[in-house]
């Protein structure tokens, strides 16, 4: 157990401490994150160099990905008014998915298994949807949307703090959901790997086949969590945009 936790704790490759003790060392997780960022960039950039009217191969794949993000994810939630937020949602989806996939390569450390990574993304979503709401309704108008329309006036002082708490819980749950899913998946993989090392030679195949199954499941979970992160970001933005009826 302690070994597994140690495995998920990054060790610095290159020590770097600036600004009075802020640790920005290059760890395994940072390296994975950078690799994922470069891969995400290349995935979309290379086929866009030579775009053809009739897509083939790589471009076809990317077009399916983009279309899924737009039709199946963004427009399903926000409709046509979600168009300005497409770059944000598509980036979140593809970047988180690729980070999860890169983290699954044996020997690498998933960047999403660090609470700091996911917390940063959740904070970005939190700031953006609040900013969108403030720009749309104005500061006072946005605070007014915290109380649902049609609430009796004596209930408003109760509803308002409740809404504030639920808004604060949003980035927290976004960050913890992604982080805990990835960590739990890797813990399960680690436990089965440990079992397949220590168990009797005749039944070694059982934990090993479980590793294979869990690996496939982890790929699915990586995609699902990326999808959920992106769709929740879309829902929050849509909720901030909504005016009182």
């Amino acid at each position: 157990m302690e070994k597994l936790i140690q495995e998920l704790t990054p060790h610095a490759y290159y020590k770097l401490v600036v600004f009075g003790g802020v640790d920005i060392s290059i760890t395994k997780a940072v390296l994975t994150l950078l690799i994922a960022a470069v891969l995400t960039f290349l995935l979309f950039w290379i086929p866009s160099r030579r775009m053809k009217l009739v897509p083939r191969g790589w471009q076809n794949f990317v077009e399916v990905l983009v279309e899924f993000t737009r039709e199946g994810l963004l427009y399903e939630i926000m409709g046509e008014e979600g168009k300005p937020y497409f770059p944000l949602i598509a980036t979140l989806f593809s970047f988180i998915f690729i980070t999860n996939l890169v983290g699954l390569i044996p020997g690498s450390l998933p960047a999403t298994s660090q609470i700091g990574t996911t917390a940063a993304w959740a904070l970005i979503v939190f700031i953006i949807y609040n900013a969108v709401g403030v720009i749309k309704h104005g500061p006072i108008g946005y605070l007014k949307t915290f109380v649902p329309p049609g609430t009796p006036i004596f209930l408003a002082p109760v509803m308002f703090p409740l809404e504030i708490i639920s808004h604060i819980a949003r980035p927290f749950s976004l960050a913890v959901r992604l982080f805990a899913n990835v960590v739990a998946g890797h813990m399960v993989l680690g436990v089965f790997a440990f079992l397949s090392f220590t168990s009797l030679i005749i039944i070694k195949i059982l934990p090993f086949s479980m590793i294979v199954i869990m690996y496939l499941f982890e790929i699915f979970v990586g995609g699902l969590q990326a999808y959920i992160f992106a769709i929740l970001a879309a829902i929050y933005i849509q909720g901030a945009l909504q005016s009182e009826h």
């Binding site: 959901r177 999808y227 959920i228």
Partner: protein, 74 residues
């Protein structure tokens, strides 16, 4: 009897914390499949709503898992 009582707490935390979300996820998927079978043309909408609901239900047990990690790492 000696040993780390935190491990017992960790086991209890995730074990008890998984009961509620387990029931919730079961109900959620059962009703979604029912809805999809009844109205196949609404399957896409139902699936989206189901995944969002799954995420919320699952998050509750993941909070318990985080607590379990904290307790067992002590």
């Amino acid at each position: 009897m000696n040993g780390n009582i935190g491990l017992l707490g960790a086991g209890l935390a995730i074990g008890l914390g998984a009961i509620g979300p387990g029931i919730g996820v079961g109900l959620l998927v059962a009703k979604s499949v029912e809805g999809m079978a009844r109205q196949p043309e609404a399957a896409g909408l139902i699936r989206t709503a189901m995944f969002i609901g799954l995420a919320f239900a699952e998050a509750i047990s993941l909070y318990a898992l985080v607590i379990a990690f904290i307790l067992s790492a002590k």
